[in-house]
Amino acid sequence: MNGVHDMGGMDGFGKVEPEPNEPMFHEAWESRVLAMVRAMGAAGAFNIDTSRYYRETIPPHVYLSSSYYKKWFLGLEEMLIDKGYLTREEVAAGHAMQPGKALKHGKFDLANVERVMVRGQFARPAPAAAKFKIGDRVRAKNIHPATHTRLPRYVRGHVGIVELNHGCHVFPDTAAMERGEHPQWLYTVVFEGRDLWGADADPTLKVSIDAFEPYLDPA
């Protein structure tokens, strides 16, 4: 979706402000939010793409004015309500009012902690041969799905070069919408800064994205 989360190339957000000796969490509740997201994901309530999609659907004015973990919280709450794991009434009351729904991988308990500390595996067997090879010229499609996609706006319509082939991976566009993994070839595609940002752009700049095959046409 063409949401505010797709920020590459936007102006006006000001300077980057690194914080010296930044703590891991600024408030204790942030760590609880992180842990709940990791736990419910590992228990099978949602996949990583679905959780990203819910954060993207936070209304733009709320998204832009919320801290990082606040966005995680808002996305988590909405997603769990939508998927039937809890109700708005329960959230408002702060207590369960009906039995829970079965989780794909069961309750998240201490035995599961080790598992969440390593990222999931996203590689899948290839359903077909790769359409592109390293060095190929490709054009990022001019597509604007209203649902989840990992093709940022700033490359759409532009020509780049295939630089790496990462094999076949879960396709976020369908996985996020719970329409299956539909594995796709994944490539690093590199673009010239001046192709993306015009003749006045930094001539030394090259930008790459990791693009799933359905995002690309031969060029």
Binding site: V16, H26, I48, F73, L86
Partner: protein, 207 residues
């Protein structure tokens, strides 16, 4: 708005979020989805097991062992998997090497993808709008915010982490470190140097 008023406002907002987070955790617990002690354990693991020290050891090893460095650039996850002492790493870690003619920088314009196992949880600036919006368009401007400048003709390569691949920058080894041990070298490797928004520390410079 007076200072006091502003402070009070921030405080109320914070409390509201805190209450909502607590309510959600209570509901999840009562419904039998999560065990609070398991949430505690997740937080503790993040606080103690992951962090830039993992990445620093990998970088220092690459600086001193050219066979390892080649393997690392060939397949980051596999090479790091051979080091027993570093925390386990997920698949699809791509290590990109800075050279005298090319500087690499990593961003996630769409969310906050970051090599957690190597660097820990990302800092706030990495996840915030200024960095995410500007890194792909004006990386030299972003570097200036960090007090970093590059030679005018050096190529800047920005890696936008748009999939489940994760990127770690292998910075150049600082001059004046000939003969140093891996342990000593690792102390020079900063988090930002592995994101590409900084350089390793220089030997002898005040830290």
């Amino acid at each position: 708005m007076s200072h006091d008023h502003h402070h009070h406002h921030d405080h109320s907002e914070l409390s509201e979020t805190e209450l909502r987070v607590r309510a959600l955790e209570t509901v999840l617990t009562e419904k039998g989805y999560v065990e609070p002690a398991a949430l505690d354990a997740i937080i503790q693991a993040y606080e103690t097991k992951i962090g830039p020290h993992n990445g620093a050891r990998v970088v220092a090893k690459a600086w001193t062992d050219s066979a390892f460095k080649n393997a690392l650039l060939e397949d980051g996850s596999k090479a790091i998997g051979t080091l027993g002492h570093v925390s386990r790493v997920g698949d699809h870690l791509v290590v990109v090497e800075n050279t005298p003619t090319r500087h690499n920088m990593v961003v996630c314009t769409l969310c906050s993808c970051y090599p957690w196992e190597m660097l820990g949880l990302p800092p706030v600036w990495y996840k915030a709008s200024p960095y995410r919006s500007r890194a792909v368009k004006d990386p030299r401007g972003v570097l200036a915010d960090f007090g970093v400048s590059l030679p005018k003709d050096m190529e800047i390569r920005v890696w936008d982490s748009t999939a489940e691949t994760r990127f770690l920058v292998l910075p150049m080894r600082p001059a004046g470190t000939e003969g140093w041990s891996e342990e000593r070298l690792a102390e020079l490797v900063t988090r930002d140097s592995m994101i590409g928004t900084g350089f390793p520390k220089t030997p002898g410079a005040p830290s």
